[in-house]
């Protein structure tokens, strides 16, 4: 059902954890829906220097979290904002149709983290 790449990101997720002094935090989903993701970013000179996540959710949700944090790191905020859910799914070699909504979770949480950062740095 899942690609090897996805299974790798699920089994060995990158960037798990909190960033205590994060510059931005984004939360998406909620436990009632079965998916919830908390995404932390560190930002320097408009570039995401670090990203970490905590996720409650299925295998796909965890792999998406791992992948989006990987993709976000090193990107400018504007670049990061343009990471589409399709791009995340593609980077995982695809998601089963019924799991496509999980890829929203990643890009939405990232967007919220960036918005949070910006709201604190206006």
């Amino acid at each position: 059902m899942y690609s090897e790449k996805l299974m790798d990101h699920f089994t060995n997720p990158r960037n798990v954890g909190e960033i205590a002094d994060a510059d931005g935090v984004g939360m998406e989903g909620n436990p009632t829906c079965g998916d919830a993701m908390k995404l932390f970013i560190k930002v320097q000179d408009d570039v995401i220097t670090d990203a970490k996540f905590q996720t409650f959710g299925c295998g796909a949700a965890i792999a998406v979290s791992s992948m989006i944090t990987e993709m976000a790191k090193g990107k400018t905020l504007t670049e990061a904002l343009s990471i589409s859910k399709e791009a995340v799914a593609d980077a995982l070699d695809g998601l089963p149709p019924q799991k496509m909504h999980c890829s929203n979770l990643g890009s939405d949480a990232l967007r919220k983290a960036i918005e949070d950062y910006r709201s604190r740095h206006v």
Partner: protein, 400 residues
């Protein structure tokens, strides 16, 4: 890595004796039971022998057994067929919140045909209260369908008590015994039900064979119209080998029931004890009145699919009632009705044990599972601060 198959509620491996019994009917004995010649008659006799074997398993008469293709078909047939047959007397049905999709969704389809359905809740042990059923009865009630044992939380429902109430009100009672028949004693005379569903692949028989018990004299409309197979109550060329296999599986189950039950019960108790040592893990279903081989839990702060995937990486096969794994992406109605918060229901995990399972397999699960839970909780935003950590989507805590 040895396989630890703890998902017997999904399906069972077939017993070799069952396969051997089926074998001749794939090859030499390919006749159609409706044909009048020897080939057909031998097939017919084989079907009738299977009918006796299945009848015996549940203490019914052979003429009260109608073969179908699946438990789902039996459930559709029973609920719809009896509701339609009795619609002259009323269009109110009662089912419980512990029903399998094949009863639940049949009831919903009947609502579209003008029937009114009462969905009686279960208590926090997943148990239907017969009094609630009684109170739900109206002058229009014609059919009650309550599951015998839940495949999700294991609870065995008080069918006998409900039967007494149904009888008193002259309402017909169906029970979905797909998860129980062949695994615990199921006696239609004792339960006093009018109809009952059972499925062969749930007791080491083949897929593609199931049955409905229909008490002599009970009226029903066919689900599948056509020829006069199954006494005109279910058309379609009989799946002879599968029916033969079901008969054999029923015979073996009837003979071995106490031994099988003792085996899986002792394993389940061992597993349950081991798993409940983990913090914030709760048994679901009734602690005692339950399927002997079914151990079901909710694990807080993590989601079922993740557990299943990591268990698999250790060769352990289990199931989850979590929305994500249900493929329908909906929270399990029975857990919701039991009062399990939706967030927690996503942490459902179900181990259903079988006659091939060993103490070693259980012990390896007891060893692996806490590590799996820890690993997922380490990733979860809720594990440290509890469910409140992320209350409203979009809000965030100060001080980050």
């Amino acid at each position: 890595m040895s396989v630890k198959y703890f998902d017997h509620i999904a399906t069972n491996p077939m017993l070799p004796e069952v396969f051997d019994a089926m074998l001749p009917y794939f090859k030499e004995q390919y006749g159609n039971p409706m044909s009048m010649y020897d080939l057909g008659m031998k097939a017919k006799q084989a079907v009738e022998t299977a009918r006796e074997q299945v009848a015996k398993l549940i203490n019914a008469k052979p003429s009260e057994i109608i073969f179908t293709s699946s438990g789902a078909e039996s459930n559709n047939f029973a609920l719809k067929g009896m509701a339609m047959a009795h619609q002259g007397s009323g269009k109110h049905l009662i089912i419980s919140m512990a029903e399998h999709h094949s009863v639940l969704n049949t009831a919903r389809s009947l609502e579209k045909l003008g029937f009114v359905v009462t969905y009686v809740p279960v208590d926090n042990h997943g148990m239907v209260d017969p009094e609630t059923v009684k109170k739900s009865i109206t002058k229009e009630t014609t059919v009650i369908s309550i599951i015998h044992a839940s495949s999700e939380v294991g609870t065995i429902e008080p069918i006998k008590e409900i039967a007494a109430i149904a009888k008193e009100h002259k309402i017909v009672l169906h029970t979905d015994a797909v998860a129980s028949a062949g695994n615990i004693p199921v006696d239609v005379k004792d339960l006093e039900v009018d109809a009952l569903s059972l499925s062969a692949h749930q007791f080491y028989g083949p897929k593609g064979a199931a049955a409905m018990y229909l008490k002599t004299g009970q009226r029903i409309l066919p689900l599948i119209y056509g020829g006069i197979q199954e006494g005109g109550r279910r058309a379609g060329t009989e799946n002879v080998p599968a029916i033969v296999g079901m008969g054999k599986a029923a015979e073996l189950a009837a003979a071995d029931l106490p031994k099988r039950m003792a085996h899986v019960k002792q394993l389940r108790q061992r597993l349950t004890e081991g798993i409940l040592k983990i913090e914030k893990v709760h048994l679901t279903g009734h602690p005692e009145i339950r399927l002997p081989g079914l151990a079901s839990f909710v694990v807080e702060f993590i989601e079922g699919e993740g557990m299943l995937l990591l268990l698999l990486s250790k060769g352990i096969y289990a199931a989850s009632g979590s929305a994500c794994t249900s493929k329908a992406l909906k929270a399990s109605p029975v857990l919701v009705s039991m009062g399990v918060p939706t967030s927690m229901s996503h942490g459902s995990i179900v181990f259903s044990l079988g006659i091939g399972n060993t103490t070693e397999a259980i012990d390896s699960c007891i060893e692996e599972f806490p590590q799996i839970v820890k690993r997922l909780r380490d990733m979860s935003p809720f594990a440290k601060e509890g469910w409140g950590a992320l209350e409203a989507s979009g809000g965030h805590k100060e001080g980050a």
